[in-house]
């Protein structure tokens, strides 16, 4: 049986009806990966024996299936999230042989819910990038068109799900790194509210922006993964103590009644410069929201045009601090034959980090240095507050905000790598949600004339993922199935 096309809901129903078992599903997906991932390069590590052992262990608990909301569901994990015994390299030479001694809280919760870890996926090094071309291993290819990028930084996670290797994966999103690859790969991707999911066990990039979240092929699947992975867990001082709602409970006919008459905010001036096909697809998506009874409202977000500058000061400053721990001392790459301790630090880091990572560390170091701190980091934090206030004001007038997720569809490998700012502009629509701390979801809206996916982004109030899921679910049902996605081709993988 071809398990590549099955969603989480299909798997759970199939297990319930005893049509197939977690071991069969895991084995089938592992075979697919072995046969087809050399072309896509979505995975950095697979351990078939460990995965099959985990699947067998879950099967022994089949009598408790009802209590395991992700019973037997294989999930791929981005390689900047720790899972005991598996590598955690952040796709960097500086962590080449690092094996995680503990498991991230969000992954521990998925395992408690019955999920099976399928493998570790590729990313831009230390999650810094928008195309996965900054991976210290190799770029990942987009399963819709293998000359193109899958987006980034969670490109491996996105490609694995789009290729049919996994029904779901975890990514992390600091400036758009779940939502943008989801958009470029025709998937659903969710960045939760900051403080919804524990960051314990994530390799930190920017601590006030990072959030882990799901990439899936349906809104219901994303809701199921998030409701399992979210919540405090006791090891993160920045997580809300509030109970995580059961998001899937409302994802049925009742959602249509809930979303009718909700106001959807659109900021037209923000759309200037967007690819014409992306814009047309977005406008058609807003029409569908109107058909669902939602009311478009024009909103202003006067300071979002400064989001790129703000982000590239705040995030890089935080990164310069977080990446100081990679010094060749306790773990990771150590330069051979250092002259002294200082040389050990400088050469290990100089040789171990890739160019984009070093660029961002230096930018952040500069922004935090004496004499420049107020003008750069201090100023950026003040502008961040202005952006937060823009969203507070907008949510007085609307209940969700809609935009394209990315200004373009998937670009060619190598196309944007020479100028950093051109690459950074891929994230203009996603950055503000991280700066404001609000949740965002990308849902597929269609494809362009080159058959490349286009995503619509919905953003909501803090901790209002429920509304986002319900709107996204109704839109998805209204939109109908995507034509010929790569996970439906025979045995998955590239188009």
């Amino acid at each position: 049986m071809d398990f590549n096309r099955l969603e989480i809901l299909d798997l759970l129903e199939g297990y319930q009806r005893k049509e197939f078992s977690p071991t069969e599903v895991a084995q089938s997906l592992l075979t697919s990966i072995e046969k087809k991932d050399s072309e896509i390069r979505s995975f950095l590590q697979v351990r078939p024996d460990v995965t099959l052992d985990a699947a067998r262990a879950v099967e022994k608990r089949s009598s408790e299936m009802q209590k395991l909301p992700l019973y037997g569901v294989p999930i791929a994990i981005k390689d900047n999230i720790l899972v005991t015994g598996w590598q955690a390299t952040a796709a960097s030479k500086i962590l080449k042989n690092y094996v995680a001694p503990f498991t991230a809280m969000c992954v521990e919760r998925l395992e408690s819910a019955g999920a099976v870890i399928l493998g570790k996926t590729n990313l831009d090094e230390f999650a810094m990038g928008s195309s996965t071309e900054n991976s210290g291993v190799a770029p990942t290819r987009n399963p819709w068109n293998t000359d193109r990028v899958p987006g980034g930084s969670s490109g491996g996670s996105a490609a694995a799900v789009a290729a049919g290797f996994a029904p779901a994966s975890l990514g992390t999103d600091t400036g758009g790194s779940i939502r943008q690859p989801a958009s470029l790969c025709g998937l659903v991707g969710v960045k939760p509210t900051y403080g919804r999911v524990s960051r314990f066990g994530l390799i930190a990039f920017a601590s006030s922006l990072d959030q882990a979240g799901p990439l899936t092929r349906s809104v219901w699947d994303a809701a199921r993964v998030l409701e399992c992975m979210a919540g405090y867990g006791g090891k993160d001082a920045t997580v809300s103590r509030s109970v995580v709602p059961k998001y899937t409970e409302n994802l049925n006919e009742s959602a249509f009644g809930t979303v009718r008459n909700l106001r959807v905010g659109v900021c037209t001036s923000w759309l200037e410069g967007v690819d014409p096909e992306v814009r047309a697809s977005f406008e058609a998506a807003v029409e569908k929201l109107k058909e669902l009874g939602m009311r478009p409202v024009e909103i202003e977000l006067p300071n979002v045009k400064y989001a790129l500058s703000t982000y590239y000061l705040v995030a890089t400053s935080e990164a310069s601090s977080n990446l100081a721990r990679f010094d060749g001392v306790h773990y990771g790459y150590r330069t051979p034959n250092p002259k002294d301790l200082n040389d050990l630090y400088c050469s290990s880091r100089g040789e171990g980090f890739g160019p984009e990572v070093k660029l961002r560390i230096m930018l952040g170091t500069y922004a935090l240095s004496a004499g420049y701190y107020d003008a750069y980091y201090g100023k950026a934090n003040q502008v961040r507050r202005l952006i937060q206030q823009d969203f507070e004001a907008a949510f007085e007038k609307c209940d969700v905000i809609a935009s394209p997720t990315s200004p373009t569809t998937a670009f060619k490998i190598g196309e944007k790598i020479s100028d950093p700012l051109t690459m950074y502009l891929s994230d203009i629509f996603t950055l503000p949600a991280n700066l404001a701390g609000i949740p965002g979801i990308s849902v597929p809206a269609g494809v362009d004339s080159g058959k490349l996916p286009i995503g619509m982004q919905l953003m909501g109030r803090h901790f209002d993922e429920s509304t986002l899921f319900q709107v996204a679910y109704c839109y998805e049902r209204r939109r109908g199935a995507l034509a010929n996605p790569p996970w439906r081709s025979k045995s998955g993988a590239g188009a």
Partner: protein
């Protein structure tokens, strides 16, 4: 474009060794980005309240209870060089 001295100073603060080619590369790249972010200076932000990023109900403290850690050997498995229960480094003092 940043000066060579500026790039070397930042690299020293960041504990990054750079090749000659890299110094030139970063002079150019950092210069480009820093010019771009200058746009923030045009914004009036004197009255802006302090930015808050974490949820209101997040609690930074836990009970002050000792929790002994027993997994030293696990942590040393990733060490580039170790001896007994310690990480091994070049001599720092005479």
């Amino acid at each position: 474009m940043l000066s060579r001295d500026e790039v070397l100073k930042i690299a020293r603060l960041a504990k990054l060794s750079l090749t000659e080619k890299e110094i030139e590369f970063y002079q150019q790249r950092l210069g480009r980005i820093l010019t771009y972010v200058e746009e923030l200076n045009a914004l009036a932000t004197a009255d802006t309240s302090v930015v808050r990023t974490i949820p209101k109900d997040a609690v930074a403290f836990r009970e002050d209870r000792p929790m002994p850690f027993s997994d030293v050997r696990e942590l040393l498995k990733n060490a580039p060089a170790s001896e007994a229960d310690s990480f091994l480094l070049p001599q720092v003092m005479e």
